[in-house]
């Protein structure tokens, strides 16, 4: 560790292609011990592929990898584990039915003298690991009962338990609340001090500036720039990633003056007594006017997602009290289909899990919500279908070679646009968005913000749940703060900033 210049990981001339598509070409990449090295790039730039090569999940076609000076062959994840490399994935690789502890120790469970699994030690170890990363979770709880963000915390604890020399984190904060992010940063600082080499992939520039030492930018599978991360500005990074100057502004300022129209959605003291899972609304009041973008803030477990699901008829159901009015009419949807008919559209949080059929074409995914409307006597006109899909892709600026290609072949940002396009094709009066820019690169993010402004400008009411304070403050007209299933505060973003929002989320506001 003493030698500052000694690189622990050295990748030289690494290349990898998927079915004729070059994902990574001729990349040189090095990480020192005790360094946090940020890896930046738009989705599809090759970051994940490069790290999958390093963690032994995919084999490189060309190139050399040295760990601590020794050349290594990483053709299987076990090889990487042996070399002391661990990775925290963006997609969660947990077994849903197993407990937190069983997941953390999956495949290397501690044994008793009799060769059976030592459950007590496993639980105790897990509690210690969770405590180290500052997580309050029941080590014995099945992972499937946890929310996405909590599951992410489990994967972090799991990676820590490996005592790795090289730790790769692929967007570890994308589902975390601000206090959890702070906790993670504390852990990262600890690891760095202990001489671990850390690779940190994130789209959040403010995080890079805070914790990274160096930054490497990938574009189209190749290294295009290297920076000292502490002196890196968001604009510089974005320009290197996209290849041209980017304006990181949120929405068209021309909209700021627009007066909100009549209330499209009014929720009065909504309480849902649900029989299963999550945190159902427990006293929520809010309203969204036509042409208005209202944010939903709150920490993990505050009930943001559950509120949106309830409003879309997609929640677990249960007994309602309080009132929901959609365009001044009583609204209590029991299925998403009914909600959609009433003029509500929803973009879910996890596009891979609940948004898209990844193997199906962009066409099929785009028009899914309106195929029966495009049909006459049950027969769909292929021409109208294609027209609708092309129109949607053009309006949202989806980059694709053909609408017949599988949506899973698109980058994250473009997938998100397809999803948004599908919601818009239904012609909604109220648009519900759950983390609309999660895992989306800077360029696409800016475009989505611009689109949201445009959509609101057409009189659509938008309710946007997000865990990114900058997004809420930058995009929304007002932000409603949820805590433990209740709406506890409302901020006007004209006068309040990120700091006020964070304070309100965490409960520092009376």
């Amino acid at each position: 560790m003493g030698d500052e210049g000694a690189a622990l990981v050295v990748m030289t001339g690494v290349s990898k292609a998927y079915g004729g598509v070059r994902a990574v070409r001729d990349v040189d990449f090095a990480v020192r011990a005790g360094e946090v090295h940020a890896l930046l790039g738009e989705n599809g730039a090759g970051k994940s592929t490069l790290m999958k090569v390093l963690s032994g999940q995919v084999a490189a076609e060309r190139g050399e990898i040295r760990i601590g000076g020794e050349p290594v062959r990483l053709s299987r994840p076990a090889d990487a584990q042996r070399a002391g490399i661990a990775m925290i994935h963006q997609e969660l690789d947990l077994v849903p039915a197993l407990s937190v502890a069983e997941n953390v120790f999956l495949g290397r469970e501690p044994r008793t003298r009799f060769g059976t699994v030592d459950r007590r030690r496993m639980l105790a170890e897990t509690r210690r690991l969770l405590a180290r990363s500052g997580v309050r979770l029941d080590a014995a709880a099945p992972v499937e009962l946890l929310r996405t963000g909590e599951q992410q915390l489990v994967t972090i604890a799991k990676a820590l338990s490996l005592d790795a020399r090289v730790l790769i984190m692929d967007e570890p904060t994308s589902a975390l609340s601000p206090p959890e992010v702070e906790q993670l940063f504390a852990v990262i600082a600890e690891l760095r001090a202990a001489g671990v080499a850390l690779v940190y992939i994130s789209h959040r520039m403010e995080e890079i500036g805070r914790i990274a030492d160096r930054a490497t930018v990938l574009r189209n599978g190749a290294v295009v720039a290297e920076f000292d991360a502490r002196e890196l500005t968001a604009a510089q990074a974005a320009e290197a990633m996209v290849g041209r100057p980017v304006h990181l502004m949120f929405r068209a300022d021309s909209r700021a003056s627009a007066e909100p129209g009549a209330d499209v959605l009014r929720v009065e003291n909504l309480v849902v007594r649900a029989d299963a899972g999550g945190r159902p609304p427990d006293g929520i009041s809010l309203r969204v006017g036509a042409g208005e973008i209202v944010g939903l803030a709150g920490l993990l477990g505050s009930g943001r997602t559950e509120l949106l699901e309830t409003l879309f008829g997609g929640g677990p159901g249960g007994h309602w009290s309080g009132q929901v009015l959609l365009r001044d009419k009583d609204f209590h949807p029991r299925t998403p289909r009914k909600a959609m008919r009433a003029g509500v559209a929803f973009v879910p949080e996890d596009r891979r899990l609940s948004g898209l059929a990844l193997e199906h074409s962009v066409l099929a995914n785009s028009v899914l919500s309106i195929v029966d409307r495009l049909a006459r006597f049950g027969v769909v006109s292929a021409r109208r279908e294609r027209g609708a899909a092309r129109g949607s892709a053009a309006r949202l600026g989806v980059k694709l070679t053909s609408i017949a290609e599988p949506v899973g072949a698109l980058s994250g940002g473009n997938q998100q646009k397809v999803l948004l396009g599908r919601a818009l094709l239904t012609g909604p009066a109220l648009l519900l968005l759950d983390e609309p820019t999660r895992g989306v690169d800077v360029g696409a993010k800016a475009e989505i913000y611009r689109l949201l402004g445009e959509i609101a400008g057409e009189g659509v009411a938008i309710l946007l749940a997000s865990s990114e304070p900058a997004e809420l403050v930058g995009v929304c007209d007002r932000v409603v703060v949820l805590r433990a299933g209740r709406s506890v505060h409302e901020l006007d973003t004209g006068s309040a900033g990120e700091a006020e929002l964070l304070a309100a989320s965490m409960g520092d506001v009376q």
């Binding site: 998927y18 189209n220 998403p336 289909r337 909600a339 059929a357 072949a409 980058s411």
Partner: protein
């Protein structure tokens, strides 16, 4: 995203895998021509009588496999179709002879029975969230039990005529050939069913919903697809087609046996799998299934023509299933992982 567009070779490869069963069918067909015994200077295999016999031989399994394709496309499975064949076969024989019902009411009632049986399984599976495998495993027992109760466990011979306990002569057409005695009626029925299903899956809004459910059920639901309705209907259609196959079966053999159709469900699933439809749902086609069923039929036929032991045939078909499924695993990955 700035990716190179997929190369032409890549596109060709994708198409090859997409229609693998069609190419497989062509390959098996060519092999059959080569291996065909010669009689009087003509290849026995290529005789029109023989070729139509192939289609006739697979017509019942083919009809079942069309329904099975729909169920598998939504990520389900229907193990009950073989038993429903038995139920429909014995039922239509009983109604036509013992009950002296007319042709139309008997056939309609049995078709309705199959439909309702399928709908019930669909409701049990989709509404109450019991796995389709389990529901239809139970349905398989139930249908077989009802079939045996209906005829007290005996087979029912169908005698044609105008007298009491005689079936209308029209029903015997199922064992005949049409178009100057060339085309077997069951083969014709199979072709019509297959064409209707291909058209349904190509143009209907229903089919878009069906594929979407198989591709990602949660996403389909959140996109406003009436998931419950589509799933129940698909199971209903599968039951309806199973009843149709049972009626064809009874007609072909002028006999309704309560144990008829045992194991047909597995042959139908085999045809679907060889046809390239993914058991996890969302990907596949009826055309593939038809090719898969024909492939098995041609294989059986050529082995028979060469007097190969029927047990060897089973082994060969088994190997083809594994080969076809294995081939699907080699498909070039189209999506990022």
């Amino acid at each position: 995203m700035t990716e190179a567009p997929p190369s032409r070779a890549h596109g060709l490869l994708t198409a090859l895998f997409k229609f693998q069963s069609l190419f497989g069918l062509v390959a098996v067909f060519v092999a059959a021509v080569v291996l065909s015994p010669v009689k009087g200077g003509h290849l026995v295999f290529l005789g029109s009588g023989n070729l139509l016999n192939v289609v006739r031989a697979i017509s019942e399994i083919g009809i079942l496999a069309v329904g099975m394709t729909l169920v598998i496309l939504i990520g389900g499975i229907d193990l009950s179709v073989g038993s429903v064949v038995g139920l429909a076969s014995v039922g239509v024989a009983e109604l036509l002879t013992v009950n002296d019902w007319g042709l139309v009411p008997s056939v309609l009632l049995i078709l309705a029975l199959g439909l309702v049986f399928g709908l019930a399984q669909g409701i049990a599976s989709a509404k109450f969230g019991i796995q389709a495998f389990i529901v239809t495993l139970a349905g398989m027992q139930v249908a077989r039990g009802i079939a045996r109760m209906w005829s007290d466990g005996r087979g029912v011979s169908i005698v044609y005529g105008d007298g009491p306990r005689q079936a209308p002569v029209t029903f015997s057409l199922l064992g005949e050939r049409t178009f100057n005695g060339v085309v077997p009626i069951p083969a014709l029925i199979f072709v019509v069913v297959a064409v209707l299903a291909v058209v349904l899956l190509r143009v209907s809004a229903f089919s878009r919903h069906l594929y979407a459910i198989g591709g990602n059920e949660k996403a389909a639901r959140l996109s406003g697809v009436p998931v419950l309705r589509v799933k129940v209907l698909v199971f209903g259609l599968c039951g309806l087609l199973a009843a149709l196959a049972g009626i064809v079966h009874a007609g072909q053999f002028s006999f309704g046996g309560p144990n008829d159709g045992a194991g047909f469900e597995l042959s139908a699933i085999a045809a679907v799998v060889i046809g390239g439809t993914s058991l996890s749902g969302g990907r596949g086609s009826v055309l593939g299934t038809v090719a898969g069923a024909l492939l098995v039929g041609v294989l059986d036929n050529i082995l028979q023509l060469n007097n190969v032991d029927s047990n060897v045939q089973l082994v060969v078909v088994g190997c083809v299933i594994v080969f076809a499924a294995g081939l699907q695993r080699l498909r070039p990955a189209a999506i990022r992982t």
